[in-house]
């Protein structure tokens, strides 16, 4: 099992918490009958989809001599390693050793196979350590399951440590500055007081003196997968339906990179839904993208030791809380603790 033994606190903190679900890539990245190599939590993986759509996620490491299975051949319900032909089924069992039939590798489950789910157009996987192989209970974000809410997924790959991408979401105040030149965050006060409000699944970090004008609140939700919920008003031009929301998740790719998943959602039905979807595809998606690029430019410009020399103030309480949660998680999962 690759998510493994030498996992120190620092390694886990840098490459993502174990024993929970994480998003990996959009579902569309793996067509029926296709394979795709991905990196997540600092390890290489193989996504493998059967022609009927069933998806599997295997450690990208042949149990014979560790060649990447992603260089191998898709055989429908198993993959054949290119190096010596060993065949691995989607549950990680060696199904054949063609060079030595009857070899004692056959029938043994030697490759890690992660539980996967597909949600809102994204692949989620459960990354358990050796003590926690059974998937944690997963409660999906309501905006992605509620039939009265409509969502578009936006996925992007950033050269940013995963925690910085999550911290950015627990820092609503940057909206009024970094995104001042944008279609949705130009308005509102540039001073604010914040508070933390605990919930049974995480916490809100919210302004006490302004609501519904800019990026004024965010909720961190830990429901088997870590995600945030937030809301930003649309200008009148976006038509009926009120503000748009964002469900955000981050895939820890490795120590320096992450994949960000932003579902832009709106509570709309009927002609209002159709109109929003039409405007989104034709005009609004580009504007949302421009805002996201402001975040990427800023976060990719942060020095690697950004969190080593800081002078925080009241607006950073949401980030401080986040770090404490993640740090405690990494400590409890580390084998050295």
């Amino acid at each position: 099992m690759p998510l493994s033994r030498q996992a120190t606190v620092e390694h886990i903190y840098a490459t993502g918490l174990r024993n929970q679900w994480h998003p990996v890539v959009p579902s569309s990245f793996v067509a029926p009958g296709a394979m795709r190599k991905v990196t997540a939590l600092g390890e290489p993986w193989l996504l493998f989809r059967r022609s009927d759509g069933t998806l599997a996620m295997l450690a990208d490491r042949c149990p014979h001599r560790s060649a990447p299975l992603s260089l191998g051949i898709h055989l429908g319900d198993r993959v054949a390693c290119w190096y010596h032909g060993v065949e691995v089924a989607t549950d990680g069992t060696v199904s054949a050793v063609p060079g030595l039939p009857g070899c004692n590798l056959e029938g043994r489950k030697l490759v890690t196979s992660l539980p996967v789910r597909e949600v809102g157009g994204a692949i989620l996987a459960y990354f358990g350590d050796e003590q926690h192989p059974e998937p944690a209970e997963l409660t999906l974000p309501e905006p992605l399951t509620d039939p009265g809410t409509d969502a578009f997924l936006c996925y992007a790959e950033w050269n940013v440590p995963w925690r910085y991408a999550v911290e950015n979401l627990l820092d609503p105040m940057h909206g009024a500055f970094l995104h001042h030149e944008s279609h949705s965050m130009y308005d509102g006060d540039t001073t604010a007081k914040f508070r933390i409000r605990e919930t049974d699944r995480g916490y809100f970090f919210e302004k006490t003196d302004q609501r519904g004008v800019n990026f004024d609140w965010v909720e961190l939700c830990r429901t088997g997968v870590d995600w945030v919920d937030l809301e930003i008003p649309y200008p009148l031009s976006a038509g009926p339906g009120g503000p748009f929301g964002i469900v955000g998740m981050v895939c820890p790719v490795d120590e320096r990179r992450c994949g960000v998943f932003f579902w832009r959602y709106r509570r709309v039905r009927g002609w209002q839904r159709d109109t929003w979807r039409f405007l989104y595809r034709t005009l609004i998606e580009q504007r949302h993208w421009d805002v996201l690029e402001q975040d990427r430019a800023m976060l990719e410009a942060l020095p690697a030791d950004a969190d080593q020399q800081e002078n925080l103030y009241q607006h950073d309480l949401g980030v401080v809380r986040l770090r404490r949660l993640f740090r405690a998680g990494a400590e409890s999962q580390s084998v050295t603790s």
Partner: protein, 75 residues
């Protein structure tokens, strides 16, 4: 089959095709109507017709024809 495509940065992830000139025109006019005229379906139909932005067959919009067309475009 490999992740050598890093980083994936694609502005348009929701489109099935590049918008046509008609679609761009309709979208821009809808934004103007929503900004200046209101958010009701009656506002939309009146606003589009008063700006001479008609359905593809050239006829003025009705609530029914707008519902049908926007469903085709936004489903």
């Amino acid at each position: 089959m490999t992740d050598t495509t890093w980083p994936y940065l694609d502005v348009h992830q929701s489109r099935t095709h590049d918008p046509t000139p008609y679609e761009y025109k309709l979208a821009a006019t809808l934004e103007e109507v929503f900004t200046k005229d209101g958010h009701e379906l009656t506002d939309v139909v009146r606003g589009l017709n008063s700006r001479q932005v008609h359905a593809p067959d050239g006829t003025p919009w009705t609530e029914e024809s707008f519902r049908t067309e926007i469903h085709r475009l936004g489903a």
